[in-house]
Structure formats: structure tokens, C-alpha cells
């Protein structure tokens, strides 16, 4: 072997150059991938906004859909329907979700707590259409569709989200607060309701808002539970009602371009709601966590 001059030379050997080249290439690819994801987000939002924003008008929000055979009209019934369904679902899911989180973080033995968390994660991973069929079999067969049955299905989807978010915030509550309350002679339940829960209030709210944002866009659980509805505004949860995501689903499959225009407009409304709520909830959550963690 010749004494390799390259060993002492200050220029990079070919091997080093190759290693550096691969390194640069990989960094570029990773950057590109992240850019692509952001670009897709921008692309979807922009194409929905461009096509949807122009169709928005006062009539669009306050009038019902045109009767069968005609195109056009507003979406008041779907808007109210979504409000009723999601509102009721929130009312069902949030209290139970908070209770489950309290159980896991304050009362349960570690093993049982683990098991409950596993159940929540499995519930969270179930396809939403399965939950729709479950509620269909449980409540709809025999007695027909209704808004509250759709709410029940959405509540099953929201439950693990609310419970997990709450439980994560409860875990952040400093144990010194709990111990302080107990040392002052407060009982367990007073400590939980008077100290732990109020401290985590902000986190629970943001968790709930994120769950609402998710539920507002769910279509699959509503197909079987509240889809065959009259074309009129109704606030009665015992009636089946239309909803924004279901309306988009039906309109998007129609061959009529006028229907597509309405689908885009509804899509714009839905995407605005979802993005604004989830963005602000995320920002609040970050600030809240910082404050709690000190």
C-alpha cells in the first residue's frame, strides 16, 4: 500500500465528499417533504375558499334548500341541524369524559387506570362508520332516525378525546396543590372538586373545543342515524335533521354543478369553523400548559 497522500491532504477525500453529499441530499428531501405537507394544506384551503367564498350570502345562511328538482337555495336547515346535533353530543360527552379522566387520575389503582386508558384509546381508534352502525342497531332500528341519535354517535367519538385531553391536564396539576388541600384537612372529594378541577379548567375547555371541531366534521356516524330529514329548519332533537357534513357528502356526489357550488360553500363554512376553533384551542392549550408547568 502506498502511503496515501490523501490522508494528510486538506482537500476532502472522495468518500467524505460522498458522505457529505448524501447528507445534503437527505436534508433537502426532508425539507421538501415538510414543504409538501404544508403546500397540500394551503392547496386544499385555497381551493375550498376560492370556490366557496363567492357563494356565501345572507340568503345562503337564512334560507332552506330549494325544493326537489330545483337547484340553489340556502342551508339554514343544515346549519341548525349541525348546531343541534353537535351541541347535544357535547352535552353528552363532556361530563362523562371529565368523570372518566377524574377516575383515572384521582381514584383508580394504576393497573385499572391503565386499562381504562387502553379502552379509551381503542374507542378512539374505531372507524367512525362502525360507531354509526352500532347506534343504528341500538337506537334506530324499529323507531327511526332522530337528531339525538346522531348526537349519541358523535358523543361516542368525542368521549375518548375529551377524557384523554382532560386526563393529560389533570396529570399536570402539581401534586403540591393536592397535598396542600389534603393537609389542610379537606376531604378527597372537596380537594378534587374544589382544587384539582378548577386548576385544570382551561385545559378541559380546550380539549372540549378540539373534540367539538372533530365532531362537527364527522359524516359517517350521521349517515345511519340522522340523514332522512324534512327540508325545514327544526330545533327538535327528536326529529331527524340534516347537517353540514352530510349535506356536503350528498351534494358532492350530485352531477349538477349548482350543487357543487353549494357543496364548496358549505365546505368553506365547515373548514373555517374547524380551523378557527382548533387553531385557537391549540394556542390556548400551549399557553395554559406553560402557565401550569411554570
Amino acid at each position: 500500500m502506498a502511503v496515501d497522500a490523501g490522508r494528510y491532504s486538506l482537500t476532502l477525500s472522495r468518500r467524505t465528499r460522498r458522505r457529505k453529499g448524501v447528507n445534503v441530499l437527505m436534508q433537502a428531501l426532508a425539507t421538501l417533504a415538510a414543504l409538501a405537507a404544508v403546500a397540500v394544506l394551503a392547496l386544499v384551503i385555497i381551493s375550498v375558499a376560492r370556490r366557496g367564498a363567492s357563494a356565501l350570502s345572507w340568503d345562503f345562511f337564512t334560507k332552506n334548500a330549494a325544493t326537489f328538482g330545483q337547484s340553489g337555495g340556502g342551508v339554514a336547515n343544515a346549519l341548525v341541524g349541525s348546531l343541534v346535533i353537535v351541541g347535544l353530543a357535547t352535552a353528552m360527552a363532556v361530563p362523562v369524559g371529565i368523570l372518566i379522566a377524574l377516575y383515572v387520575s384521582e381514584f383508580a389503582p394504576p393497573r385499572v387506570g391503565d386499562l381504562v386508558r387502553l379502552v379509551l384509546d381503542v374507542l378512539n381508534g374505531l372507524p367512525s362508520i362502525i360507531i354509526g352502525i352500532f347506534v343504528y342497531g341500538l337506537l334506530v332500528i324499529g323507531s327511526g332516525q332522530a337528531a339525538w341519535k346522531g348526537s349519541f354517535a358523535l358523543a361516542i367519538i368525542m368521549l375518548p378525546l375529551v377524557a384523554r385531553a382532560t386526563q393529560e391536564v389533570l396529570a399536570l396539576v402539581p401534586s403540591t396543590l393536592r397535598e396542600g388541600a389534603l393537609a389542610l384537612g379537606a376531604s378527597r372529594w372537596r380537594t378534587v372538586l374544589g382544587v384539582v378541577l378548577p386548576t385544570s379548567f382551561g385545559g378541559i375547555i380546550t380539549g372540549t373545543v378540539l373534540a367539538v371541531a372533530r365532531a362537527a366534521g364527522e359524516t359517517a356516524p350521521l349517515l345511519f342515524t340522522t340523514s332522512i330529514a324534512a327540508n325545514a329548519v327544526t330545533w327538535d332533537p327528536r326529529q331527524p335533521v340534516l347537517s353540514i357534513p352530510y349535506d356536503i357528502f350528498v351534494l358532492s356526489e350530485s352531477p349538477d354543478p349548482a350543487d357543487h357550488a353549494r357543496a364548496w360553500a358549505l365546505g368553506f363554512v365547515l373548514i373555517c369553523f374547524v380551523l378557527v376553533t382548533s387553531l385557537s384551542a391549540r394556542l390556548l392549550l400551549v399557553r395554559y400548559r406553560k402557565r401550569l408547568e411554570g
Binding site: L41, V122, L270
Partner: protein, 325 residues
């Protein structure tokens, strides 16, 4: 009263009524929260039970052969799930094939490369992609992505890679490929944010040790970060797979309700979940409904298996790390 308390401050027992109230309150809250937790477990059991109960007529009539039979003949009540299982597998695996390297790359970018100030912003933008409702993504899929795929992407793929069976056949605006792309968009934000957290959890000493030994950044990634997070990343991919398998709405909108078993990604097809979403109003006879729910039962079993495996890996992974440090 205050005088009485201050006379014996420490030994004075609580008034009897308050002690009983506290004991009752503790018991009540414990019981109430425990009941809520039990209700969640019961709910999970009830979902599985109800799905199988609804599917039972079809399960007893067709048996396991249902899974291996093709076709959905509503006139003669002959149903089989093989087409749909094929569609589900092809779309989900193809989506994962694209999403996995993308997610790992995005996770690496967000944990290692992105400028500090932009890091959280870009990370939350990627996560926002997951917040877009599937029905809106489906709408975009039919009206924007579909025509692009049918008129530009598929002809291009066919010209250059047509010898691969996946890219054979004539281009269409709706079909498997559009579904694959939409599913990819849905999976990437989920898996990449899990990957990012895993990569951030790699001990800095290990990373810096590799760099100090002269490794380039990429060699550090390949030699330290990826091996260290291997099981976590595979769990993230499994969770993404579970999501892809169960997505009904967006897939229904773009896949075009075809049938048959084809290797080509250009043709229309159907998945288990999309068939369910399509037929929600069309099912008339009892056996037809039961057969549809049979599909749901298959979907349920797949998604339970996938999710439980992923959760199991995650748990073992975190125990290992905690035990090791």
C-alpha cells in the same frame, strides 16, 4: 364558636356530621367516576356485541365463505367481501407506502432541521392537515384532485411506468389512485406528528455522541435516531394503517364504486368502509343489511387487531425506555 375551636385546636375531632358527609362525598365521587369509566368499557363491549348481533343472520347463512367470495349481487342475495377486502388492502397499503417515508422525513425535519422559531408553527400546520374534515377532503378529491389525476398524473404514470401492473389500464377521474392519495393526505399528519415526538425523545447524549465521532447528520439519523425509535415508528405506521382502513366518507366520494379485483390503481373500486357508506340508504332486505354489517364486523376485527397491536408496541416501547434510563 371560634373560642371553642382555639381551645383545643389540634385534637378536636371534626363535627360528626361533616365527617359523615366527607366520607359519603368521597365514596360518591369515587363511585360516580368509576361508573363512568366502567360505562366506557361497557360501551366498547356493546359496540362489538351489537355489530356481531346485527351481522349474525349473514354470518350463519354465508359462514366464513363470505370472506373469500366475490361480488355483491343484491338481486339474488349473493354477497361476498373479497373485492372489498382487496380494495381496502390495496388502497391502505399503497397509501402507507407513500405516507411512511414522507412521515419519517417530516418528523425528522421538524425535530432536527427546522429553524427553532419556525418549528412549532410548521408542526401545527402539519397537524392542522389532520383537522380538515374528511368530507371536505373528499369534496376536494372529487372535484380538484380527481380531474388532475385522471388527466395528468395517470397518463404520465402510464407512459413512463406502464409496464408495472399498478399503472396499467386507462386513466379515470375516480378510482383507487385518487383514494390512495386522499388517504395519504389523511395519514401523514397523524404519523408524522407521532414520529416527531419520538425523534424528540431520543437522548441528546446519543445524538451528540454520534456527531462527535464524526458522523454526518444523516448518518446520525440512520445510526442513532431511527434504530432508537424503530418500534415506536412502526406503531405510528400501524395507527396510520388503522385510520386508512376505517376511512369511509372521503374514500366513498373518490373511489367510484367499482367492483372486481384488479392490480391496476387506475380502475374504480370499493373498500369495506366505503361500501358501507354507499349503501346506507340502499339496503332493503334484512339479509342485505346483515351482509353489510358483516362487512362492518370484518372491519371492526381488522381495526381492533391493528390498533391493539400498535398500542401494545407503544406500551412496551415506553416501558423499555423508562426502565432503561
Amino acid at each position: 364558636m371560634s373560642a371553642r375551636v382555639s381551645a383545643v385546636p389540634s385534637t378536636q375531632p371534626l363535627p360528626e356530621r361533616r365527617r359523615i358527609g366527607d366520607r359519603f362525598g368521597d365514596l360518591f365521587l369515587h363511585g360516580l367516576t368509576g361508573a363512568a369509566a366502567a360505562a366506557a368499557a361497557v360501551l366498547l363491549g356493546a359496540i362489538a356485541w351489537k355489530i356481531f348481533q346485527l351481522a349474525w343472520p349473514a354470518i350463519t347463512k354465508y359462514g366464513f365463505a363470505f370472506v373469500t367470495r366475490q361480488g355483491w349481487d343484491t338481486v339474488h342475495n349473493k354477497f361476498g367481501a373479497l373485492d372489498l377486502i382487496w380494495g381496502t388492502a390495496l388502497t391502505s397499503f399503497a397509501a402507507l407506502l407513500i405516507a411512511t417515508p414522507l412521515s419519517i422525513a417530516i418528523g425528522l425535519y421538524l425535530s432536527e432541521l427546522a429553524p427553532r422559531g419556525a418549528r412549532t408553527v410548521i408542526a401545527s400546520l402539519v397537524e392542522l392537515l389532520a383537522a380538515i374534515p374528511s368530507v371536505v377532503l373528499g369534496l376536494w378529491g372529487i372535484l380538484v384532485l380527481g380531474p388532475f389525476v385522471g388527466q395528468d398524473l395517470e397518463p404520465w404514470l402510464h407512459r413512463h411506468l406502464g409496464f408495472i401492473p399498478l399503472f396499467s389500464g386507462s386513466p379515470e377521474n375516480a378510482g383507487m389512485l385518487v383514494a390512495v392519495l386522499v388517504l395519504t393526505i389523511m395519514i401523514v399528519p397523524i404519523t408524522s406528528s407521532i414520529c416527531r415526538e419520538l425523534f424528540l425523545g431520543v437522548p441528546t447524549e446519543l445524538e451528540q455522541g454520534a456527531l462527535a465521532l464524526g458522523a454526518t447528520r444523516w448518518e446520525m439519523v440512520r445510526g442513532v435516531i431511527l434504530p432508537y425509535t424503530r418500534s415506536g415508528v412502526s406503531a405510528a405506521i400501524l395507527l396510520g394503517f388503522g385510520r386508512a382502513v376505517g376511512e369511509a366518507i372521503a374514500v366513498t366520494q373518490v373511489i367510484g364504486a367499482g367492483h372486481g379485483i384488479h392490480w391496476s390503481l387506475f380502475v374504480t373500486g370499493d373498500t369495506l368502509a366505503s361500501k358501507l357508506a354507499e349503501q346506507y340508504q340502499g339496503a332493503v332486505s334484512n339479509i342485505q343489511i346483515a351482509s353489510l354489517v358483516y362487512l362492518a364486523a370484518i372491519l371492526l376485527v381488522i381495526s381492533l387487531l391493528v390498533n391493539l397491536t400498535a398500542l401494545f408496541i407503544v406500551r412496551r416501547f415506553s416501558h423499555e425506555r423508562i426502565g432503561g434510563s
